[in-house]
């Protein structure tokens, strides 16, 4: 198949910037946090440098979405609305997804809107784990001395659970976006914002139909 020109705008510049700043912040948080989580990898944390880095990264992690939401309130609302809107097509998609992702027939998948249910799940995980991270993190950072040891102990666990959730879904997100044989244009679209017409039609049929007015 000859390379098709990528003319459909999928992401706007500011969304792309937001995505990558947030990604870098999260990766820094993952690395500086995971070394405390995985047994035997703690050596780099010695001296507490990673604790400082973790605190700096979290400021970016928390404030980029806030700034983005203030600059783009409609996009932010859209994000929340999409995450929690689940229709019949979404559930059909979920049941057919395993076959599709293991290389099955593309035609069997119900057409999708701007994002598919898999991505909705990812967004849901981001919101849930983000809330868990935030609450438990604030407790451990600022209220260590004023709270009972039990609250601290369970905050550590909540942070762990949020980490497992978010990290596993991040792996899935990265694999699908970067490596999966079917997602040929995902990564590039998060770079320059564009995808080809056929990719748009195959992956986000409903959205593309609405956008272009043709089928």
């Amino acid at each position: 198949m000859a390379a098709e020109s990528r003319v459909v705008e999928r992401f706007r510049k500011r969304s792309i910037w937001f995505h990558w700043i947030h990604t870098v912040a999260f990766l820094v948080l993952v690395i500086t946090g995971a070394i405390l989580f995985f047994p035997g990898l703690g050596a780099p944390a010695a001296g507490g440098v990673t604790r400082l880095v973790h605190r700096i990264a979290v400021v970016f992690f928390v404030f980029t979405p806030i700034v983005y939401s203030i600059l783009n309130p409609r996009m932010a609302l859209h994000f929340i609305k999409e995450t929690f809107t689940w229709g019949a097509d979404d559930f059909t998609w979920v049941t057919k997804a395993p076959d599709y992702y293991f290389g099955g027939d593309e035609e069997k998948m119900p057409p999708q809107g701007n994002i598919n249910p898999g991505q909705k799940m990812w967004q849901l995980i981001i919101l849930i784990s983000g809330a868990l991270f935030l609450v438990s993190g604030i407790l451990m950072w600022f209220f260590k001395d004023t709270l009972s040891p039990e609250v601290f102990q369970w905050s550590v666990i909540v942070h762990d659970v949020a980490f497992i959730l978010a990290f596993l879904m991040l792996l899935v997100h990265v694999y699908l976006g970067v490596l999966h044989p079917r997602m040929t244009e995902s990564l590039r679209s998060m770079w320059d914002g564009r995808i080809s017409k056929s990719y748009a039609r195959n992956h986000y049929g409903k959205w593309y139909e609405k956008l272009s007015g043709d089928k």
């Binding site: 010695a46 400082l52 992702y101 762990d160 497992i164 999966h180």
Partner: protein, 288 residues
């Protein structure tokens, strides 16, 4: 609490006798290496609140010097206070319990330390490696005795912890711990664990008739503490938990560690499988 002159002398003599016996016992402990043979016994009924243990600890470990503190405002354990007296008001008097790391056999701090800064040494004591410490403070929050103390800068997170080493270099070269050597009444004794337990039981049997509250604490708690106590009242009176335990959260946490690692491995393997299968099936359907 009364301590007669005769009792004082007896205790002092006993302590000296014990000290003379030590080199041989330490040699035995060294031979077995893994044997948690050495321990300390704190007999609360012999403590006269003199703070010599406190001063000796500071002196030996090179911690900022202090004078005998006001017992109504005793110094709290801190990175530069490795042992202190937990004081309790008893009528007009202050009675005290020596407070320091108990060197648990099943230590919550070691369990939760993410960097291995806290670990068990060959003698079974809980050792702390400052260079490995990340300052996370988990040990502070998980220790059932509230022993590790940390000073954290809230903005940067930089933190300092430090605690009793069980005078590691002294005991490995055949000397008793600084606090036990300094104790003038024999309230703090150092030696073979089993000898100390035997002595403690004798002491309990001796004191029981006049006080039913007398008990031995630490022989079984948390797999056996390396600092045991003869108490004359319930542990709570002396700021010790009645039934110390590694907090449940610590065990939950170690489960999550392995769960997280395991799931990550499963997911990564799943990607490999998915990639190969998807490639093959997609190539086949293109051929058609």
């Amino acid at each position: 609490m009364e301590l007669t002159r005769k009792e004082f002398l007896k205790a002092a003599a006993g302590a000296t006798g014990l000290m003379l016996l030590q080199p041989a016992s330490i040699a035995m402990a060294k031979e077995s290496q893994t044997d948690a043979g050495l321990a300390m016994l704190v007999d609360i009924t012999k403590c006269v609140n003199c703070w010599w243990c406190y001063a000796a600890c500071k002196d030996y470990n090179g911690l900022p010097e202090t004078i005998k503190p006001d017992p109504s405002q005793p110094p709290q354990l801190a990175p530069d206070v490795w042992t202190t007296l937990y004081t309790v008001r008893n009528g007009a008097e202050w009675i005290a319990r020596k407070q320091a790391c108990n060197h648990c056999t099943e230590a919550a701090c070691v369990e939760v330390c993410p960097t291995g800064a806290l670990s068990y040494n060959k003698l079974g004591f809980v050792q702390y490696d400052k260079d490995k410490c990340s300052g996370c403070g988990y040990c502070v929050e998980y220790c059932p005795f509230g022993v590790p103390q940390i000073e954290t800068n809230i903005a940067t997170g930089a933190a300092v912890m430090d605690k009793c080493t069980f005078c590691h270099d002294r005991v490995t070269s055949g000397e008793p711990t600084a606090c036990s050597a300094a104790c003038p009444t024999g309230a703090i004794t150092f030696g073979q664990r089993r000898d100390l337990i035997a002595a403690a039981k004798e002491r309990v049997a001796e004191l029981r008739p006049s006080n039913t509250g007398v008990r031995l604490y630490g022989d079984k708690e948390l797999g056996g503490l390396h600092v045991m106590y003869v108490l004359d009242d319930s542990p709570e009176v002396y700021g010790l938990p009645g039934e110390p335990a590694v907090p449940a959260a610590a065990s939950v946490r170690s489960v999550f560690k392995w769960l997280g690692t395991g799931l990550t491995a499963v997911v990564l393997a799943g990607f490999g499988l998915n990639y190969v299968v998807a490639r093959i099936r997609m190539a086949r359907s293109e051929e058609k």
